[in-house]
Amino acid sequence: MTMQTNSVESQRQSLSGLFWATCRREYLLSFRRKSDLVNPLIFFLMVATLFPLGVSPEPGFLSQLAPGVVWVAALLATLLSMDALFRSDYEDGSLEQLLLSPQPLFVVVLAKVLAHWSVTGLALTLMAPLLGVMLFLPADGMPGLMLSLLLGTPTLSLVGAIGAALTVGLRKGGVLISLLVLPLYIPVLIFGSSAVQAAVTGLPLGGYLALLGALLALALGLAPLAISAALRISMSS
């Protein structure tokens, strides 16, 4: 009896060990490569500088745009970084090793998505105020902006990872993933930008945040399973 508890215990330990080892590896990779780390930042900054230049430099006009632009930029940044989530593992053979591991796949997958989110979604959230200032977002909107991004971007990462997993073995991955994932992103975009708009106009934004939270909970529950299944399927040909 104690034997068995012990083995369950040790298994749980090795699972959390795997989770953290994967996180560690992903962070190391991002920090060494730097590009994952800085890319969303650069993309965000680009959008923030290009918009005033291309559309109109008037503060009044820009401030109307700001909630939507920040959210669209966050969405695009996530989407564009998604393709790389499993691709390099696929190309160098690590993914095969992953699939042949006796450990449950969804642990590794969850760790990878977490790491990915924290170098894209979280970074975007932290940088959002800067963008807000550059686009003249009223100060009242800032908390709403950051909260909505904080709740919305993990959903984006989780859903995007499903697309990445479905397309990982394909030569045409890059395009497909946008097509597959974009329709699924739209609710997040709508609730997110509505939350910011509500915050700007002083309306209550609790409802939107609750919805974003519900989406996140749903994604957290279902996405890891879908991702693991998709990975197995797309590697099995």
Partner: protein
């Protein structure tokens, strides 16, 4: 059948309307070294990927210790070490960091073993160098270090000796022999002339497909 590690019955695989093998059947007992032979494109890699469970693009039955491999998947994975064409080495990580993650994937290997394994594959002094500034052979060696770490009885190795120098190949061959003597089994492909001083069973895939020059 249960005293065989792996039993393959009536395996059939085709790619693009080319039949690679059909009615292939063999069994692998503990302690055996099996070399899959065949010319380029004869289906060695395909077969190894099927055996390891990576590819499901086949018809036929595969049994692990007498049970259908699909039903004892986790058990099977726990007993398998697969070494593929791609080394699975991240260029920006050091050999040590690479191996540490592999250790986490198949639990209960301590860090000391990693340093030891790296020394065994001749990468002492390179533990902290990012793998992109290692040579082709050194990169393969990083991945080969897993052989020294693994306690899995079944090894499936796809051209493990690519880019390895002669001394390295001899060391690896000794390792395979030792593994077999301890009751493990090895399935491998290689275009090298194997110099293992022990019995090596050969399975030839040349009958159907492949290049002929």
């Amino acid at each position: 059948m249960a005293d065989q590690l792996l039993t393959v019955q009536n395996l059939f695989c085709e790619r693009d309307d080319r039949i690679l093998f059909s009615r292939l059947g063999f069994a692998i007992a503990p302690g055996e070294i099996v070399q899959i032979e065949g010319q380029n494109g004869s289906g060695k890699t395909t077969l190894l990927r099927i055996l390891s469970g990576l590819s499901r693009n086949y018809e036929g039955d595969i049994f692990w210790r007498g049970e259908p491999v699909g039903e004892v998947r986790e058990e099977f994975c726990r007993n398998l070490l697969y070494f593929g064409h791609q080394a699975g080495v991240k260029a920006v990580l050091s050999p040590q960091e690479n191996l540490r993650w592999y250790a986490a994937l198949s639990p209960a290997i301590d860090a000391e073993a990693i340093d030891h394994a790296l020394e065994q594959v001749g990468l002492r002094g390179y533990e902290d160098v990012p793998c992109h500034s290692l040579s082709a052979g050194q990169n393969r060696r990083v991945s080969l270090a897993r052989l020294y770490l693994s306690r899995a009885p079944l090894w499936i190795l796809d051209e493990p000796f690519t880019a390895i120098d002669k001394k390295g190949v001899a060391a690896k061959e000794n390792l395979l022999l030792k593994h077999a003597q301890q009751g493990g089994s090895v399935i491998l492909t290689t275009h090298h002339e194997l110099g293992i001083r022990g019995p090596v069973r050969k399975i030839n895939l040349d009958q159907c497909a492949g290049t002929s020059v």
